[in-house]
Symmetry: D2
Subunit: 284 residues, 4 copies
């Protein structure tokens, strides 16, 4: 038996769930989980995640998708995709000097908590090379030479384009250009070390300290052309007080960053996220 | 247009969602929200909440229910009920001397946050009479005389049986007998001032203080014959420290109690809860 | 016995605690609680809250303060104040149409959780008049006439200046002018319905919805000339999801607003807050 | 300059802080942080943590302690200890098959977040050997043979007694005997994978699932003769729902366990904890 996950969005209209669940029923699929959301039942947009298992011998994936395409044509303004659990997503990782998110991801990956292939880890620092290689993952070190950002991004692109399903910026401290984001075209998940939209840009813990906030946060979001403005996937927070200095804010923040990013990656790998306008639907 | 909410549970099997959503589609219902859960797609139990609107002129509620009953007969071991949003639930409230939950409920009710009728407030203390009457709600004071618990429960039962859809124990410090719970037969929601199953029984804040916990909680649950053992609906927690004494634990706890109970009541009134074994499914 | 609370800040230097605790000891005071904080032991600023009880018959408050003034003269750049628990602070409240914070404050006040006098409630709406009067608190209704903001603020000032120790803006939707804030000169606590510094200004829940955040918040802060930029006293947060619309954000937000504001008021009344630069020290 | 931390508890009485801060002042110590707590100023018990730096050339540690002992003799029922930041504590670790806490501790230790020596890691499983040795830490594998618990504990004791300042049970699934706890005599910190006192004993996530709680937790506590009854140091919680099965409870729980245990270890290493009756004072 194969397990598949359908993610679909379309204009909301009567009968969508009936059509899709009937499709599953007629094809002898066993529904494991089904979640839907509508921004407005009368005029809004409809989102659905359907996790089901089926017999790939009696019903090949290509056949399944061809038949579903016919159904989807009857839905207004629909975009959809079917993912197969047997086919692991390829996750590329970019990281700079701070390695707490990287090490956390690799540990969870090794222990089976994150089901993915990791074909590549890329860094502009060498300190993470050993940790990466220990797990048997290819590592590329790309030092950032003067005025050579374009060249560096070309190297990254050639290493990940077509070879990864999405990228994770696990505390990657370079800003990827619009050109890179467009050229890569797949999802890129970033962890920003603040409770966005507070404290965008550089040194968010310094900004939080100066503002005297009583709660700090971390935000996992998709990267878009606008820095720190992409769709938010997950946020985590912790209390702080006048006793905290920038060092203890950073320490508490590392816990938030690793957990928010791990949760976002898990949602991505389990195909629980649908992007919509500048937001996300994250089915639990 | 009328809005209705179907709550159903049955043995999980293929085609349930297809049948139910097809039923809604054929009857021209507009699905507003749909949530489902299965404990196990192969052998488990299936739960669904379907919120939809329909035209009661072309399709009367009795007709709707009669037709749905035919469908439900085809599902194994099904129990279901359809609630109509236009028909407010009748919520009876029992309370003792501490009135923070009562006052919070009445404020939320008055401001429209909790959609219900409140036909009666009953207390074994008189201090809450004025507050209750101010809202125009009938109030009954039942003092607990010696050896007269049975008599008191009879009075309560005659005031609520058939006149309320469910009861809320808003810090009611008497233990209702099994006989009462059976005789009333509808849902009874209690707020216990601890993080169950920790600190059952009397004086939970004293117990928490003595144990030296670093987090306290409150638990809203359905009342069953076993004291503090009924299905949990909602829990809330807050951090405490060595600085807290029993008085500050109680103060922090009051916030938790009011919020956990208000959330549980809202879920009850919006028909988001399905009871199952000794647990609850609470659709968000 | 009288209980007093000393709040002091000065340049950090060796021997401060020794001097102050020796002062308490020599005067036969019993220290109930003592908290201190230093931004930096070598060059920083020192803050202290000392709660103690003493016999006012053998040692009058004026005498106590006169003697402490001599000690404080030996500390560099010191500002201090002694509050007496027997003398309740006078708290004025300004509120607009939404009354959830007001009702919460009045309930906590009545039940003894907030120890204060409330000499006046002022609103630009009449709907809160009844609730206020029920508690026996004088109420002033000030409608905002065209181009008459200056006149309205004059009326407020004459009602509170010299008659209140601090003001609470319990969802008061008018922006107080710099002139008013200067003229009043005492503390003004505001509750902003967002997690500052995110979503300053109008309609923060709309802003939060549009940004697609996964956590919302509320912020209690002191009012300064810069709108929503004053020192933060307390923040509270709650998780939200794609299921939340603006109405449910507002509902969840009301819980956060009432709790953050109540905590801030309690800290103010218990003299736990020291303002410093644009921040607060809040001793627990 | 040397930094030292004094932890002291005694019967509360007037003048304690004056004496101790005067002691620091006279000896030219610079107070970095000072925290105190009293269970009751009239009849209670007093606790203090004083972090200060001094010149060990002009004032040797032995001299400091000898002089402080004289002061402490004037305090009723006092116990105290001075720790020196330059002298790292020796932390021994016991672990079974599940290595998430161990790996987290070692990562934090390597990155400088936990300042300690780790002279030994002991396990009844071999799978953690490689990870431990990679950090250059001696590893002992002790398989549990039939009826040989006493023998195993003797081996452990000989490996840690006199060679470690405290032990961490980082998901060590053997129950240490009373005899071992007595013989070791130093602190032993355990992480229990539930929100104690809920779900003591075996399989707490199974117990939590069966009870249908809406929040799960983890508890770091000192080990005493009574299983899962020792003084609680730190607790962490997370929300769960009907969607969670035992596997996802365990996954969420691992995050809680690592964070609660890391926070407890940091508090231990920074000498922020004072044990008292069956509780802890944890200065922040």
């Amino acid at each position: 038996m194969e397990t598949a996950i359908l993610l679909i969005q379309c204009a909301d209209q009567k009968g969508i769930v009936a059509k899709i669940s009937d499709f599953a029923f007629r094809n002898d699929a066993n529904i494991i989980a089904s979640d839907q959301h509508s921004t407005d039942p009368s005029n809004g947009r409809f989102f659905m995640r359907l996790e089901f298992c089926f017999d790939p011998l009696s019903f090949a994936p290509q056949q399944l998708e061809a038949q579903f395409a016919i159904l989807a044509h009857t839905l207004q303004d629909a975009t959809w995709r079917i993912h197969y659990v047997s086919k692991l997503d390829k996750m590329g990782i970019l990281v700079s000097k701070q390695d707490h998110c990287l090490c956390d991801i690799l540990y969870r990956w090794k222990s089976g908590e994150l089901r993915a292939e990791i074909p590549i880890v890329i860094s502009n620092h060498e300190n993470v090379a050993e940790e990466t290689k220990r797990y048997g993952i290819p590592f590329i070190h790309l030092s950032l030479l003067n005025d050579n950002k374009t060249g560096q991004e070309k190297q990254i692109l050639s290493a990940v384009k077509g070879k990864t399903d999405f990228l994770v910026l696990a505390r990657y401290m370079q800003i990827l250009s619009d050109a890179f984001v467009s050229a890569y075209s797949n999802d890129i998940i970033n962890i920003h070390h603040s409770f966005l939209p507070s404290f965008k840009g550089a040194n968010p813990y310094r900004q939080a300290f100066d503002r005297g906030v009583k709660i700090i946060g971390a935000t996992a979001h998709y990267v878009t052309g606008d820095l720190d403005e992409g769709p938010i996937i997950e946020q985590a927070v912790d209390r702080v007080s006048h006793r905290d200095n920038i060092d203890t804010l950073k320490r508490k923040g590392r816990n938030l960053e690793t957990i928010a990013l791990a949760n976002a990656i898990r949602a991505q790998l389990e195909h629980r996220i649908i992007r919509y306008e500048n937001k996300t639907i994250v089915f639990e």
